[in-house]
């Protein structure tokens, strides 16, 4: 293992390596909660976060689902945006110029409607030097084609990862859905098929009803539940996946405060993604990074590696 030491400033070393992507700290946004980076640039110093994870990209622009698309629930929110995005070509034309100027790694999240499309988008992203790595979405609960269909069956998950791996010359992170009986089966399948890292979890499928109109509160009827309400489920699944695979795991699900992120690191996540909390507090990721650093100082640790996977059973 590479020797680590405190940074020159005497502060703890927060940097981590995810599948060859060097992050100055382990905190990044969850895809779909941070636009293409520039939306939040007026509200936080985006260079301070570990990486920028883009909105999920598809081969062609995608319009997304009808409205209403969001509903608040107890300590969470349901969304059925339906992967609205500008498409990979317009991403390169209109969104990449901003990201190019930002001194932090860019991870492009992407998906396809078909297996062939997954391969084609992977190929195009491969050609973009400014993208440090990609996150493959096989777990969106809000679209009929693609998305979760590939993420709930180990054979289908392995097939799409194998194909993407063939078409991609960059680090490959695969994002898993929690809407399965045993997430470790899927995790092992994608690892064997060539995933360099795993992020888990995506949102949990949920529903809400307006009791006055007796209609679903989302036009799509169901949506993905995110926010603090799902954190214990996410933490349990990250713990399970960390035990099941050798590749690094990125913990996602309801992280709002520094201590939430620290829980995920303790169970073995090498990095975390912050989602819904960005909507509530645009500074949330900065607060979390600072909180992790303070925790390390308080605990007398000079390297985040001493915290990661330190769960006592």
């Amino acid at each position: 293992m590479q020797e680590r030491r405190c940074t020159e400033s005497g502060r703890p070393d927060l940097s981590v390596d995810i599948a060859g992507i060097h992050l100055k700290n382990p905190v990044m946004p969850a895809s779909g909660t941070f636009g293409y980076g520039e939306e939040y640039a007026p509200y936080l110093d985006v260079e301070k976060i570990g990486a920028i994870v883009t909105k999920g990209l598809s081969l062609k622009p995608k319009a997304g689902n009808p409205t209403p698309r969001i509903a608040e629930t107890i300590s969470g929110m349901l969304n059925a945006i339906g992967l609205q995005n500008v498409g990979v070509d317009d991403f390169v034309k209109y969104k990449l110029p901003f990201l190019r100027e930002v001194n932090t790694p860019v991870i492009a999240n992407f998906f396809g409607n078909t297996l062939t499309e997954y391969g084609e988008v992977a190929k195009r992203l491969s050609d973009i030097p400014e993208i440090a790595g990609v996150e493959l979405n096989i777990s969106c609960p809000n679209v009929k084609k693609g998305g979760i269909v590939f993420g709930t069956d180990p054979a289908a998950a392995a097939e799409v990862v194998t194909l993407v791996r063939k078409n991609l010359s960059k680090p490959l992170i695969v994002k898993l859905t929690p809407n399965v009986t045993d997430i470790t089966v899927i995790a092992r399948a994608v690892e064997e098929a060539g995933a360099d890292a795993i992020s888990c979890i995506n949102t949990l499928t949920g529903m809400a009803v307006d009791v006055n109109t007796r209609r679903p509160r989302l036009a799509n009827r169901t949506g993905g539940l995110s926010g603090p309400a799902i954190r214990p489920v996410a933490l349990r699944m990250v713990h399970q996946v960390v035990q099941a695979v050798k590749v690094p795991v990125i913990g996602v699900g309801g992280i709002v405060r520094p201590m939430d992120a620290i829980e995920f690191l303790i169970v073995g996540a090498r990095a975390v993604q912050v989602g819904t909390a960005n909507f509530v507090d645009p500074q949330a990721m900065i607060t979390i990074i600072e909180g992790i650093e303070e925790f390390l100082i308080d605990e007398g640790l000079d390297d985040i590696d001493q915290l990661i996977g330190s769960l006592e059973l």
């Binding site: 909660t33 409205t67 608040e72 969304n79 945006i81 819904t276 507090d281 645009p282």
Partner: protein, 285 residues
């Protein structure tokens, strides 16, 4: 655009179920334009989880509490208590801490100075029209048509009058002003002032009727929409509305928070706008 960690200066019930909240916001007013909004984090603990969007009613300066003290720059919102978030807000007092992100979104265009300006407000939809009236007034006459279900829904009319705005009030039950819909008043005014332009904010059925009347009279219309939203900055894509030319086959969504909340009527797909799209009178949370 900034996230203000600030305090409540005052919070008063101005009509049953309607409140006026004044927030300390140094530096806000130089950026705020008529029609823009803010996102408020109601309290630090959960729930509620998400911020709530509110139209900016006005900004200004109030004198310091004691002689010699600096004037305080404030932002004012009017809101209706409709759910958990606004109920918590109604209990806030002077000195309570809140967080405010703003000013956000695109506001109203001043429009052609040669045209009569007619503002149409329905209930809490009146909120974004005050700063607009204030900005339009120096260039000529401004008329406000204000509608509500009952007299309780008619807000802040005297403040518009103080700006020198001619106001016309109508209520569905006739408890204040003329009995009937505000759109009937609009129909009459447009007959009298055919070279007018209209700015409207209110519940979707009202905006829909306003749109049809303006189209009939061939006058330009700008509307301020209210939509469910999580982020307010264009990241979540939860608040989209159907843009002109939208069909199932060729969907065309516009982001209310970033491309709106004020739209020119021709930007929107009116035949497919409707209550099922989740619009609400005021913030229904």
């Amino acid at each position: 655009m900034k996230n203000y960690k600030t305090i409540v200066l005052s919070n008063q019930e101005i009509s049953p179920g309607y409140f006026r909240m004044r927030l300390l916001t140094p530096g806000f007013s130089e950026h705020a334009r008529p029609g823009q909004f803010l996102m408020m984090r109601v309290q630090r603990s959960l729930p509620p989880l998400l911020r709530r969007p509110f139209g900016i009613f006005r900004t200004g300066f109030m004198p310091g509490d004691c002689e010699g003290m600096e004037p305080k720059e404030y932002t004012e919102i009017l809101y209706k208590v409709v759910g958990r978030g606004t109920s918590i807000m109604a209990d806030l007092h002077r000195g309570d801490r809140v967080e405010v992100l703003g000013p956000l979104g695109r506001g109203f265009d001043a429009g052609d100075p040669g045209r009569e300006k007619i503002l149409v407000g329905g209930g809490i939809g009146l909120v974004p029209l005050y700063m607009l009236a204030d900005s339009l007034k120096p260039a000529g006459s401004v008329r406000l048509l204000m509608g509500g279900r009952t007299r309780d829904d008619i807000l802040a009319v005297t403040e518009f009058e103080r700006l020198g705005v001619e106001t016309y009030v109508s209520t569905d039950d006739g408890s204040l002003g003329e009995e009937g819909f505000v759109t009937q008043v609009l129909e009459r005014k447009l007959t009298k002032y055919p070279r007018a332009m209209v700015y409207a904010c209110g519940p979707m059925p009202m905006l829909d009727a306003v749109y049809r009347i303006c189209r009939k009279h061939s006058v330009p219309l700008q509307v301020s929409l209210e939509a469910l939203m999580a982020c307010g900055v264009g990241a979540c894509l939860g608040c989209v509305v159907k843009g002109a030319g939208h069909t199932e086959e060729t969907p065309r969504y516009l982001c209310s928070c970033k491309e709106g909340p004020v739209f020119r009527a021709e930007q929107l797909e009116w035949t497919r706008l409707g209550l099922e799209d989740g619009y609400c009178e005021g913030c229904k949370s």
